[in-house]
């Protein structure tokens, strides 16, 4: 007996919600906002993903993981497409995803993306406010940036000035 062919996009979304990000396994690729669309075109499942950072090495692994997860559930005809525009933003990260990041010790992005339209007149160096980042360990807002870049393209390094713990901050993007 053959299994029924899945043509239910909600089911595919649910399955993709179980595919973890390879670098930060507590958050799924759906919670991260990488999966943009799921559709069926004549029996073929088309999953559209978007890169976080253009050079992020995890993207290839994510595409492979998505493929493996869906194949394992009987989705045989599958195509993965990449979409650049609109460009990925941390605003697409779900609240569940942000909570999971915090529980993992990574301060989630503050809701403050780089607004491209605001760049029309150049970059005013001093107009840039440092985001108010709360320590994921003790909750204090008394923190400081120690490095603009961290262990992956999406993170910066911070230190809490109250509990003194260093921590990763998932940058707004």
């Amino acid at each position: 007996m053959t299994e029924a062919i899945v043509t239910d996009t909600a089911q595919v979304w649910a399955w993709l919600g179980e595919v973890p990000d390879p670098e930060i396994p507590v958050i799924s690729v759906v919670d991260l906002g990488i999966v943009r669309e799921v559709a069926f075109e004549g029996g073929e499942c088309v999953v559209t993903i978007t890169p976080t950072y253009s050079g992020c090495p995890a993207m290839q692994v994510i595409a492979e993981d998505v493929e493996a997860a869906l194949h394992a559930r009987g989705v045989d005809k599958l195509r993965i497409e990449t979409r650049l525009s609109p460009a990925w933003t941390t605003d697409w990260m779900s609240e569940a995803g942000k909570a999971a990041l915090k529980g993992y010790g990574i301060a989630p992005p503050v809701q403050q993306v780089i607004d491209i339209s605001g760049l029309k007149h150049g970059v005013k160096r001093h107009a840039i406010q440092q985001p108010d980042v709360a320590c994921p360990h003790c909750g204090s807002h008394h923190t400081r940036l120690t490095s603009q870049f961290g262990s992956t393209p999406c993170k910066a390094l911070y230190q809490c000035l109250d509990c003194r713990e260093p921590f990763d901050y998932f940058k707004c993007h």
Binding site: P51, S54, L84, P86, I116
Partner: protein, 251 residues
């Protein structure tokens, strides 16, 4: 095939690729851990952008050359990067001043390319500009900190500015190919970019207590047309070694 557009895409891709390769050579050699991570992260962003440009170039050419073939199997004279990107790493002042000049020009170019009549170029610009904005903020900060720092850091920064200034004009010297792209609405006019570049550099240099050389100084040129310094040969020798020695190797 639109030969001019293919070449234009190579210019974008090669700028990002060569600078990325140079920054990668500094991995493990940064003056501080934070700087080391920043250099390699910027290199990674630029490499990702390279892939978008060269993939599009290869598709447009339609000769079956993908991003890898374009990056690893072209010779010195076929590279289209501006000379600024192949200037030696030198001391950290040279690295940061080169980066600041590049980031400033890169930022304004990406901002204008958001309005390109070529939809895919506009998409690549949209993806890139967020990363480039972050790069420019960082390099501007460091130019101020080092320029308005100790006597030694100030002297080194000023020396790097004077050394590299003559390489800042090439991007704004348009040849027929660039003009064809402007004509088609694909690329912005040189003067738009140059004005924005000079204004931003002047603002940051004032804060950094650095003096800005004359915008009318003689500017080196040739990289966009494939006439490079000896230095590019060494960069390519290292970057392309594996594919040259073991053609088609994968891992």
């Amino acid at each position: 095939m639109d030969k001019a557009k293919f070449e234009y895409l190579l210019r974008q891709g090669d700028n990002a690729l060569i600078l990325s390769q140079q920054l990668s050579q500094l991995c493990g050699k940064g003056p501080a851990l934070e700087e080391d991570m920043a250099l390699t992260n910027v290199a990674l962003d630029l490499l990702g952008q390279t892939r978008m440009w060269l993939t599009y170039a290869g598709e447009l050419e339609g000769m079956g050359r993908d991003e890898d073939r374009l990056a690893y199997l072209r010779d010195n004279r076929e590279f289209r990067n501006v000379l600024l990107t192949e200037q030696p790493n030198g001391d950290y002042a040279m690295v940061m001043v080169r980066q600041f000049f590049f980031d400033t020009w890169h930022f304004f170019l990406m901002r204008e390319l958001l309005n390109s009549t070529d939809k895919r170029i506009a998409e690549i610009a949209e993806k890139s500009i967020k990363e480039v904005t972050y790069h420019l903020r960082r390099s501007g900060d460091l130019v101020v900190r080092l320029g308005d720092g100790s006597d030694i850091s100030h002297a080194r920064m000023q020396a790097a500015v004077d050394e590299l200034w003559t390489y800042t004009g090439e991007a704004f010297i348009y040849d027929e190919l660039d003009l064809a792209m402007v004509e088609q609405g694909v690329a912005p006019a040189a003067e738009t970019l140059r004005t924005a570049f000079l204004q931003h550099v002047a603002e940051v240099f004032e804060e950094a207590t650095l003096s800005m050389p004359s915008p009318d100084a003689y500017m080196q040129r040739g990289g966009k047309q494939g006439r490079h310094s000896e230095r590019l040969g060494y960069i390519l020798a290292e970057m392309q070694f594996l594919q040259r020695a073991y053609p088609g190797v994968e891992w």
